[in-house]
Structure formats: structure tokens, C-alpha cells
């Protein structure tokens, strides 16, 4: 059956897109979480609200915003096209951006809370001992906040894997190119291919159970020790 191939292609694409999106969301989420936890500047609360917005906005609305921003007529999309000849719309890279934006608050929120829970006096003690601010971050702050951040990253990966609305708006549903697992499920059901849909649903459920098992293995205790 030709339809069955789409399952494994979609799985590989989904893992690639969700993996890269999680890396993007983790790096930017940890950095902004730290800045908002430690920094004191006007507009901090407004910024926090704006950065949390992708979590509560309907994914289609978010996808529309991204289309407006990244499209050829968009501020960023137009510049990318003119400067580098890059077009993100209807590309798998576009799907990565969409999934990363949706997953970002799931890293950023717990990261900020985890950084705020680290006793500032420990960082001061490390500085007095002659350790630079950057080294203090990697030796004290990050190891102590790691548990909370890791929980956020796993949630972000799960969310990126299940991303549907924003991805469909930005990247469309091109089999083998931008058709991820969750989109393929929808397409299969629409086309009446029940056997393909069954396999897709089975695969995505298995992957999600693996993520949860990994979370249980990494979570409290084991991580805190080191």
C-alpha cells in the first residue's frame, strides 16, 4: 500500500521538526527565563505577558501572525527573501519555527520560575570566591534550576510533536515535506484511509509514551544528584 510509506516519512519529519523546534525553544526559553528572573527593568511584566501569549492564543491565530510576519509581504519574510533568498512559508523550516513559537512558553515559564527559586546569595557567594558571572551561571544557577527547566523542555517537545494548527497555516500539508504526523492523521481520516490513520495514531501514541517514560527516568532525584 502506497499510503503506509507516508507514516514513516511523517514520523521522521515529525521527529526532525519537533527536535529542532525544542532546541530553539529551549535555548531561547532558558535565556529569556533567566533575564526575566534576574533582570529589573521597566516593562518586565508586559514582556512576560507577550512571551506567554503563544500558550493561550488559538494556534490558527498564531499561525496567521506568523504568516503575516514571515510571508513575502511580511516585515521579516520580505527581508529574508530580498537579502538571502530564503522563503520559510510552505517549508519544513517554517514548520520548525511554528512549532518552536508554540512550544517556547512551555520552556520559558518553568525556566523563569526555576531561576527565581535559586537563592541569589549562592550566586553572590560564588562571585566573592572569584568566579565570573558567566561561570557562576553554568556552575551554580543552571545546575540548581535544571530540574524545573528539564520538565519544561520535555513538555515543549511533546507540544511541538503534537503541533497542528500553526504548522498547517505556515507550512501547509505537503506529503514528505511538511506533512507531520499530527497533520497526516487528519489527512488520512479525511481521505477515509482508516488503516493508515490507525497506524499513525499507534505510532504517535508510542512516541508519546516513550517521552513520558524518559521524563519519569530523568525527573526528580536522579537529576538533582548531579
Amino acid at each position: 500500500m502506497a499510503g503506509m510509506d507516508t507514516v514513516w516519512v511523517a514520523l521522521a519529519l515529525s521527529l526532525k521538526v519537533a527536535g529542532l523546534a525544542t532546541v530553539l525553544a529551549a535555548l531561547s526559553g532558558v535565556a529569556t527565563g533567566f533575564v526575566l528572573a534576574r533582570g529589573r527593568f521597566p516593562g518586565r511584566d508586559v514582556l512576560d505577558t507577550l512571551l506567554t501569549l503563544p500558550m493561550v492564543l488559538p494556534p490558527t491565530v498564531l499561525g496567521y501572525y506568523l504568516l503575516v510576519l514571515l510571508g513575502r509581504q511580511g516585515a521579516l519574510g520580505g527581508w529574508l527573501q530580498a537579502q538571502w533568498g530564503i522563503n520559510l512559508i510552505f517549508s519544513w523550516q517554517g514548520a520548525v519555527i511554528a512549532a518552536a513559537v508554540v512550544a517556547f512558553p512551555l520552556v520559558f515559564k518553568p525556566a523563569r520560575a526555576a531561576f527565581e527559586a535559586v537563592d541569589g546569595q549562592l550566586e553572590q557567594a560564588a562571585q566573592v570566591l572569584g568566579i565570573s558571572r558567566l561561570a557562576v551561571f553554568f556552575r551554580i544557577t543552571l545546575p540548581l534550576a535544571w530540574r524545573g527547566i528539564l520538565a519544561g523542555i520535555l513538555l515543549a517537545f511533546a507540544r511541538a510533536l503534537g503541533e497542528f494548527g500553526a504548522t498547517l497555516m505556515v507550512a501547509g500539508s505537503i506529503p514528505g515535506k511538511t506533512q507531520t504526523l499530527s497533520i497526516a492523521v487528519y489527512e488520512a481520516v479525511q481521505a477515509g484511509q482508516d488503516d493508515v490513520a490507525n497506524l499513525l495514531v499507534g505510532v504517535i501514541s508510542a512516541v508519546c509514551i516513550c517521552v513520558l517514560l524518559a521524563a519519569g527516568y530523568l525527573a526528580p532525584g536522579r537529576v538533582a544528584q548531579r
Partner: protein, 234 residues
């Protein structure tokens, strides 16, 4: 030895606190005495570089650490001081040995759990911590934690030792022991000391020169007026 003239205005909510400390001490060991809220901890933080005054200067052991008119403000790292926090501020994710070795390793990685360093082993042995070198701070008693904090501060050979209420968190028996430990240490190691306390007995034991802080201002105090001045060790 210690020359401070600093001003700082702090706002917390509607409250306003003026710190205006001027003091000069020629002695090796200086004690700042006062009730909580008098500005002792703020003054100590200013010496360590953890709080930047609005104006003034700080000189310790012949080094200019801060001068607002002169545009000098050394980072906490560059001041090379030992600071003993009131609740010790031990790193909870690192073993006793890693805590003590912390200031000797300057890169982005913490000291290895098994790495042995002569200076570290010396202080672990001196303070009776060798047997618990692989334990985490959470598993130690209050007195042991304080000795770890002291060892951690001394390993990097600081130019001066700043002590924030070092005995306040200990029960009376332990307090006596730790005072003796610190007195014995000071008899061995020649190091400028600034100690802040609200306990008059600390003044009598450790002060060579005493200042009393009240409402953010320092007043020279007479050591003889503090009770139980014991025989001095120097």
C-alpha cells in the same frame, strides 16, 4: 586598615533607609556591632562589592576597593575577600570537598568530586571535615556547615575575612566551640577581619576596635564597656 565613608539610600516599598557610614579602624580586627536593621549587613555587602554605594569610598588593607569620585568600583571577584554568610550559602549540589575547592577552579566546570588539592585537603583536615568530604551540605550539622563555609573562604587565600553574624544560627554549646575554633584560627593566620554582630560577647572576644551602628550611622564605641572582655590572644 579599614577606611569607609559611604552613603546609600534604599527604598523598599514606602520605607526609606539612609545608610551613612563613616569609620576608620587601624586595627587588624574590626567589629561592627548593632541591632538588626541598623545597616551592618549592608555595610559588609558594600565592602565585598555585593552592594554599590551611591557615593563615598572603601579602603581595606591598603587597597582601594571603591571610590565614587575616583570612578573605582572593583568587582566582587577582583576584591579577593573571604565572606562568611550568616546561613553559610553552601552550594547544595556540590560535595563538601567541591565546596571547599570551588574558588580554586576558575573555568565553567565545577571541581571534580575526587580531585585532591593540597590546600583543600589541608583545610578539610584542620577543620575535622576529612571524613565527610564526599557528603552534600544537606547531610551536615550546623557546626560542620559553618566549618565548610570557613574553609571555602580561606582556601583562596583572601586578603581579608568578612564575617556576617557568624555564631547567630548556632545553639549555645556549638557557639562556644565555633568561637574557640575561630580564635585559634586567627591566632595562626594573620588576616584582617571585619565581623558584624548583635551579640555583645562577640565584641569582647573578637574586637580590637568596635563601632556601633544605629539607624544607618556608625559611632566609635569603647571596647571596655562591653561585658566579659576576656584575656586577648595577641
Amino acid at each position: 586598615m579599614l577606611d569607609i565613608a559611604i552613603q546609600k539610600t534604599l527604598h523598599t516599598g514606602k520605607r526609606r533607609f539612609e545608610l551613612n557610614v563613616q569609620l576608620q579602624s587601624a586595627s587588624q580586627h574590626t567589629v561592627l556591632f548593632g541591632q538588626s536593621g541598623a545597616g551592618k549587613s549592608l555595610t559588609l555587602k558594600a565592602i565585598a562589592g555585593l552592594m554599590t554605594p551611591d557615593s563615598g569610598h572603601i579602603r581595606l588593607g591598603g587597597r582601594l576597593l571603591f571610590s565614587q569620585p575616583g570612578g573605582v568600583n572593583l568587582t566582587p571577584q577582583a576584591r579577593q575577600l573571604g565572606y562568611l554568610f550568616q546561613d553559610y550559602a553552601l552550594f547544595p549540589h556540590l560535595t563538601v570537598r567541591q565546596n571547599v575547592a570551588f574558588g580554586l577552579v576558575h573555568g565553567w566546570l565545577n571541581p571534580r568530586t575526587r580531585a585532591q588539592h593540597d590546600e583543600v585537603e589541608h583545610w578539610l583536615y584542620t577543620f575535622g571535615l576529612a571524613a565527610m568530604a564526599q557528603q552534600l551540605p544537606g547531610e551536615l550539622s550546623g557546626g560542620q556547615r559553618q566549618r565548610v563555609a570557613l574553609a571555602r573562604a580561606l582556601v583562596a587565600k583572601p586578603g581579608a575575612l568578612l564575617l556576617d553574624e557568624p555564631f547567630a544560627a548556632l545553639d549555645p554549646a556549638l557557639r562556644h566551640d565555633m568561637r574557640q575554633t575561630l580564635l585559634a584560627l586567627l591566632a595562626q593566620v594573620q588576616i584582617p577581619l571585619v565581623l558584624i554582630t548583635h551579640d555583645e560577647q562577640d565584641v569582647a572576644l573578637f574586637g580590637q576596635q568596635v563601632f556601633e551602628l544605629r539607624d544607618g550611622q556608625a559611632h566609635a564605641a569603647n571596647l571596655a564597656t562591653f561585658p566579659e572582655a576576656p584575656p586577648r590572644h595577641d
